[in-house]
């Protein structure tokens, strides 16, 4: 499947096979989740990042089935470049109606970045003005976990983390995704 036909598939799934709702409800609900974690964990932002990633991971384990069922994808990606393409053009498109830009491939083709021009989770958001949130909190960290969990279910172990965020005053919002390995044996998955 070519990159262009994936973009078409993403569009088609979004337009014809996706029930849609008010975006602000998702944005504000996500905000409530993050704010509650910050409160519960008393501003320990490293721990908040961890919890968000974990919650995302749990979502990813489930979301992959919805992704496969709706996109009707039945073939494994030929390589990690294809995987990147599918994540951006089909995955992000059908759930969040965005297609982050794929960039910064490393030489062995095992690491790339997603650049988020738009990030519906972060609309309306300003980080706490407490002198440390902008240095420590990755507000959208749940997305990393989602990707990690979803790919694990299709036998790919990846590392995903943000390296920059507009909310921190950076000029970009960038997530790095690295392929650790392809998982051969069927490991039992635990719902964390």
């Amino acid at each position: 499947m070519s990159s262009a036909s994936r973009a078409r598939l993403g569009e088609e799934v979004w337009k014809t096979r996706t029930d849609k709702i008010n975006a602000e409800l998702v944005t504000l609900t996500y905000g409530s989740v993050v704010a509650q974690l910050c409160k519960d964990l008393d501003g320990d932002y490293a721990e908040v990042n961890k919890q968000l990633d974990k919650m995302g991971y749990n979502i990813g384990l489930r979301l992959i089935e919805d992704f496969l069922a709706k996109s009707n994808m039945q073939q494994k990606c030929a390589n990690f470049r294809d995987t990147a393409d599918v994540i951006s053009k089909v995955g992000f498109k059908m759930f969040l109606n965005i297609t982050p830009t794929i960039a910064n491939w490393n030489s062995d083709g095992k690491q790339f970045s997603l650049l988020f021009d738009e990030n519906p989770l972060a609309d309306f958001v300003e980080l706490p003005d407490d002198g440390k949130a902008q240095a420590e909190l990755w507000y959208s960290n749940m997305l990393c976990g989602v990707i990690r969990g979803a790919l694990e279910m299709v036998q790919m172990q990846v590392d995903a983390h943000f390296v920059s965020d507009l909310l921190r005053g950076h000029d970009t919002t960038e997530m790095k995704i690295t392929l650790v390995r392809y998982i051969d044996d069927e490991l039992p998955q635990d719902d964390e």
């Binding site: 029930d19 008010n22 602000e24 409800l25 979301l63």
Partner: protein, 223 residues
């Protein structure tokens, strides 16, 4: 105004569309990108008609429920947590709605008025449909009911038998409670499953106003 919708701020309650001290909070230590637009540069109506997938919400909401469930004792406690999340969302939605109504924004001063605002305007803005019914509880002077045949948040939720008292619509109850509070109609709002043959997921939001609200209403009717 944009600040009010940020999840880390507590929006001013009260229907006044301009918070009194907005201009006094100008000093900040936050860093902003010089090349990209901050939330202050983007129009608040930009996302008014934006859509995301119902699936994205369902997964987020589901994980919120699961996460909340880990730290609670019993159904009531879980509903309280969901109510709190909804409350935070409701506060912000109210600010957005009133800001968007601009000069036509009306401050509801009567019980029926605010309940109609909730079951029509608010419900439409959030769920793209009006609530299905709005009724007064006959036996109790201070209670009203808003019903939703098929609450969005429960679309994919199947509550296990051992938790049959639970209704995750507590989240919507929290939204309603926040909007009532924001209009100075303090009330307790709870979600109850009330299935009909056609609508197995039908949910009733029971609104119980504080005594003050009824006293004030009586004065208004009297005057």
């Amino acid at each position: 105004m944009n600040r009010e919708t940020s999840p880390f701020r507590t929006p001013s309650t009260g229907a006044s569309p301009t918070p009194k001290h907005a201009s006094l909070t100008a000093s900040t230590n936050l860093r902003y990108s010089l090349t990209r637009k901050s939330i202050y540069d983007r129009h608040l109506n930009r996302t008014k008609t934006s859509e995301l997938s119902k699936s994205a919400f369902a997964f987020l909401f589901g994980e919120m429920v699961q996460h909340a469930q880990k730290k609670v004792y019993g159904v009531q406690d879980l509903e309280k947590k969901l109510n709190q999340h909804g409350y935070a969302v409701g506060q912000r939605f109210l600010e957005l709605l009133l800001w968007r109504d601009g000069r036509t924004a009306k401050r509801e001063t009567r019980i029926l008025g605010i309940l109609q605002f909730i079951s029509h305007s608010l419900y439409r803005a959030i769920f793209q449909k009006a609530a299905d019914t709005l009724e007064k509880v006959r036996e109790n002077e201070d209670e009203y009911m808003i019903s939703d045949n098929d609450p969005l948040v429960n679309a994919y939720v199947s509550v296990p038998k051992e938790m049959s008292q639970l209704n995750c619509g507590a989240f919507i109850a929290g939204i309603i409670e926040a909007v009532l509070d924001g209009h100075c109609f303090p009330a307790k709002v709870t979600a109850h499953t009330a299935p009909s043959e056609l609508w197995p997921g039908r949910t009733v939001f029971l609104i119980k106003f504080e005594p003050d609200v009824l006293e004030r209403e009586a004065l208004r009717v009297g005057g």
